[in-house]
């Protein structure tokens, strides 16, 4: 299995938000958050567990906000303004442009750094 989904986190409650999150809107939830839509620039998700965006992620997300380093962020189109997992904060390098269509990606903490790679379904 490529994706190591933490069992503890997977058992947490999950909210399903069935539309896009626009600038200025935010979701704060202790468990996992699934968005059936886009997360636009200026929108913000803070989750205790995983964050899954079934659309374009362009806003700010914070997974594992209570300190859980097993939390992950997955998006069909992965281009967040800023990405936080537990106490790690990352942002795209300067001059980085959104390159358009690309496969789904996901982010997690590996060896104390945030790693972003192509999403592979668990086998």
């Amino acid at each position: 299995m490529v994706n190591k989904w933490s069992a503890a986190l997977a058992n947490k409650p999950t909210v399903l938000y069935e539309k896009s999150l626009r600038s200025g809107q935010n979701i704060n939830f202790d468990g996992n958050v699934v968005i059936l839509g886009d997360v636009n620039p200026g929108a913000e998700i803070v989750a205790g567990g995983h964050i899954l965006v079934m659309g374009s992620l362009r806003g700010l997300v914070h997974a594992g906000a209570l300190g859980d380093e097993d939390a992950t962020v997955t998006a069909l189109h992965f281009a967040p303004t800023q990405l936080r997992i537990a106490s790690h904060i990352t942002r795209p390098p300067d001059g980085n442009v959104d390159e358009g269509a690309k496969p789904p990606e996901y982010a997690r903490i590996q060896n104390d750094t945030v790693v972003i790679e192509e999403y592979q379904p668990p086998r």
Binding site: S23, G24, N26, P41, G42, A43, T81, P92, D94
Partner: protein, 264 residues
């Protein structure tokens, strides 16, 4: 001890944020230590114009409420060492800051910085009152349109009532060709009506759109006409005497000939 300047206009869309970004940056280019404060809570934009949106961790609301130390909320510019941004909150309620908190914030910031440049939200409500609360000087931005000049007049009245008695005017998006044909109010027409001191005029130019796209203030571009206008404005704010720039779209053949003869 630094100076607190608020950039305001009443009407939206006349270029307050662009002006704040460029004047703040140009003052920093003069070697001054600058902080720009975005007070448009819920509709922040200064971060995007400066290309700093992905560095925001804490914001104005966090800073005034003590969720973080003030220093933690200040974002250092990626180009200039002595330029900082205090971003507005995007997902918080606009009533989450009081005028007293703003005054306290401004007095703290001016101990540290030469200029505190405050970007004011459109309108005359809560956000406006907060933005001017700690300000000692005001820059009013308008464009040569009836609606914008009318709102500028209203703002000047409100500023005076609040004790900011000598606001200075920036006329943005002047189009020389239209002024010449009589289809746009010129500088004199507007000054005639508003009767305030002129701080500068900024020509309408595609360079602004391009610089906003890039998240890079146009004052960095030596060939940008609005960039030069903003650099001049910054020098005037800094106390230098700088003549108004020549707004000629392109120098005509005739005036170039004259210039050639003069140089001989």
């Amino acid at each position: 001890m630094g100076k607190v300047i608020v950039v305001t206009s009443g009407k939206g869309g006349v270029g307050k944020t662009t002006t704040t970004a460029n004047v703040g940056t140009a003052l920093a280019m003069l070697g001054k230590k600058i902080v720009m404060v975005d007070t448009d809570i819920g509709l922040r934009n200064l971060d995007v114009v400066l290309g700093l949106e992905n560095r925001i961790v804490y914001d104005l609301v966090d800073a005034v409420r003590g969720n973080c130390r003030l220093k933690q909320a200040l974002i250092k510019d990626k180009r200039l060492e002595n330029l900082y941004l205090l971003p507005a909150a995007q997902t918080k309620d606009k009533t989450s800051v009081t005028t007293d908190q703003m005054m306290e914030l401004c007095s703290k910031l001016k101990e540290e910085f030469d200029f505190v440049v405050i970007d004011c939200p459109a309108g005359i409500e809560h956000g406006f009152k907060n933005a001017i609360a700690g300000a000692e000087e005001a820059v009013v931005v308008t464009t040569p349109e009836v609606s914008a000049v009318r709102d500028a007049d209203r703002i000047i009245g409100l500023l005076e009532a609040a004790g900011i008695t000598e606001p200075r005017l920036i006329i943005n998006r002047i189009r020389t060709n239209m002024v010449k044909t009589g289809d746009m109010m010129g500088v004199d027409d507007i000054l005639d009506i508003l009767a305030v001191d002129l701080l500068g005029i900024v020509p309408d130019d595609d360079a602004i759109v391009i610089s906003t796209n890039k998240g890079e203030p146009t004052v960095f571009d030596d060939n940008s006409r609005p960039g030069l206008a903003f650099r001049n404005i910054a020098r005037r704010l800094n106390g230098d005497e700088v003549p108004l720039m020549n707004l000629e779209e392109k120098r005509s053949f005739f005036s170039r000939m004259k210039a050639m003869f003069k140089s001989e």
